[in-house]
Amino acid sequence: MTLTTKQEKFFILLMCLLLSACSGQRQDTLIVAGSTSVQPYAEVLAEEYGHLRPDKIVDIQGGGSSAGIAAAEAGTAAIGMSSRNLKGGELVLWSVEIAIDGLAIIVHPSNTLTNLSAEDVREIYTGSLTDWGKLGGTPGKIHVISREEGSGTRSAFEELVMGKDRITPKAIIQDSNGSVRQLVSSDSQAIGFISLGLVDHTVAALSLDGIAAREDKVLDGSYKLFRPFLFVTLAAPEGSAREFIDFVLSPQGQEILLQEGLVPRREEKP
């Protein structure tokens, strides 16, 4: 890196100061930044939290898992959101699982297939299986849709499905869950993967190895594609960050996440 971390922090701080000067926010604003997969759920939580504690302002920002973790580490965000496990040097940070998110393999609703094996999915994404006809569907070229490099959803998919294999460079790349869903919903030959909570009637989620992609199957461990949603802080959280995290982990907070389509967190992790 050419800029030292110190210079970088200073620059980011400066930008934040400028931004906060623009919006004229109050001092006790809690900045929560990171994964765009966690963002929509965090926004719902923040809104509910606002009803409960009108004196607190929680500001949810995107930027991606890596950026969120980096922001928590640099102190530019009180809480970083991540849709993948921490790795390497990030492991020194404090983190808590707020929920689990299933990963759904989605196709167009008119697709006659309802189930694929994990092996089929892997072969489709390596580019060795290119025709729906070979899988017993309506013959036609498979339009493989993936996420961009660095996306938490993509790295979860690579980890859980691809193993050591690579996603074919011919895959169409979209930069959000929403645009993957939009594209799959309009293309009868497409296949993609998105957060299970974001599956709606415009697309069909395939069963994997005969197990339906549903929240209860994620919870009982039979549906294998899932990843944790984490809140990450520099040190054990205090003050308003602690209060917000406590709210998210409370039965009320977990209930909201459940209603929004996520799977409540596993109890054994702190």
């Binding site: 898992s65 950026a67 339009h143 895959a171 790349i173």
Partner: protein, 282 residues
């Protein structure tokens, strides 16, 4: 004549403001090169520019497929947009009655005012499904990008070629008509060759505009990092590579995106210099 104090102050103020505009250019240039330069030196320019595989998580940074993508999409845009643009400029400069001129000219300039994300959205909702339905493939393709960009470069191509046609001395046209040429013959064999350098500059600037566009093409190109085999295949351009991965990139990956920016910068600079050279030569 001696300048008054007020005059000196005004002059210096303007100088400072002008300098701040230039310094923005200098700052951006320096920043891109400082951020991306070291990456190119360690990676090797050849390996970076001609590398076939882009997989940042594996530490592979080759942008050749994106350079090919950029060239394909820009040329496609030129193939579709330039004939339309030049015909439009000839119509405006030579044929259009004043009333039509007053409608056409602002209408075409208005195209330049439409935000590029709107072009992209329109392309995604109309052009992409059209291609998918009638021509096959995923729809997100070189062709879709070229069509959108062809529309986006029209204002550039039309206005610059029209100006170069209007700027020709009246005597050219009068002489040609006096020799008995018809109006169309005059245009085809006298006016167009005379305005050639302006028209070529218009085309070059249009291509430059097409190469630099990001938002609209992110939405309709599909952003694959493989070499395209047909115009119905998805591709990624240099600009969309930066646009799509910037949000998540860190460390070496981010430096690689800045390095992509350097290559893009050099291409655009070359094209603009070429356009300047062509117009000056006249």
């Amino acid at each position: 004549m001696k300048k008054t104090l007020a005059e000196v102050v005004t002059e210096k103020t303007f100088l400072v403001l002008a300098l701040s505009a230039i310094s923005a250019l200098v700052l951006i240039t320096v920043f891109i090169f400082v951020q991306g330069g070291p990456f190119i030196t360690t990676q090797g320019l050849g390996g970076f520019v001609f590398g076939m595989s882009w997989a940042p998580s594996q530490g592979e940074y080759g942008i050749f497929p994106m350079i090919v993508g950029t060239v394909c999409v820009a040329l496609g845009a030129a193939l579709i947009g330039v004939p339309i643009g030049i015909c439009c400029s000839i119509f405006l400069a030579e044929f259009a009655p004043p009333l039509l001129k007053n409608i056409f000219r602002p209408a075409i300039q208005l195209l330049a005012g439409i935000p590029s994300v709107v072009y992209g959205f329109w392309g995604l909702l109309f052009v992409v499904p059209f291609i998918r339905h009638y021509l096959g493939g995923p729809g997100l393709s070189i062709l879709a990008g070229s069509i959108i960009l062809a529309i986006m470069i029209l204002p550039t191509v039309v206005s610059i070629s029209e100006v170069s046609l209007i700027a020709l001395p009246r005597t050219y046209k009068e002489g040609a008509l006096a020799l008995g040429l018809t109006h169309w013959q005059t245009i085809y064999s006298v006016l167009l060759p005379a305005a050639k350098s302006g028209i070529v500059a218009a085309i070059v600037l249009g291509i430059g505009r097409a190469i630099g566009e990001t938002m609209a093409v992110i939405m309709v190109l599909g952003n694959s990092v493989a070499l395209p085999e047909s115009i119905l295949d998805p591709v990624r351009t240099l600009t969309t590579n930066i646009g799509i991965e910037m949000g998540y990139a860190a460390g070496e990956h981010r430096e690689a995106l800045f390095a992509t920016g350097i290559i893009l910068f050099l291409i655009i600079m070359t094209i603009n210099a070429l356009a300047q050279y062509i117009t000056r030569r006249r």
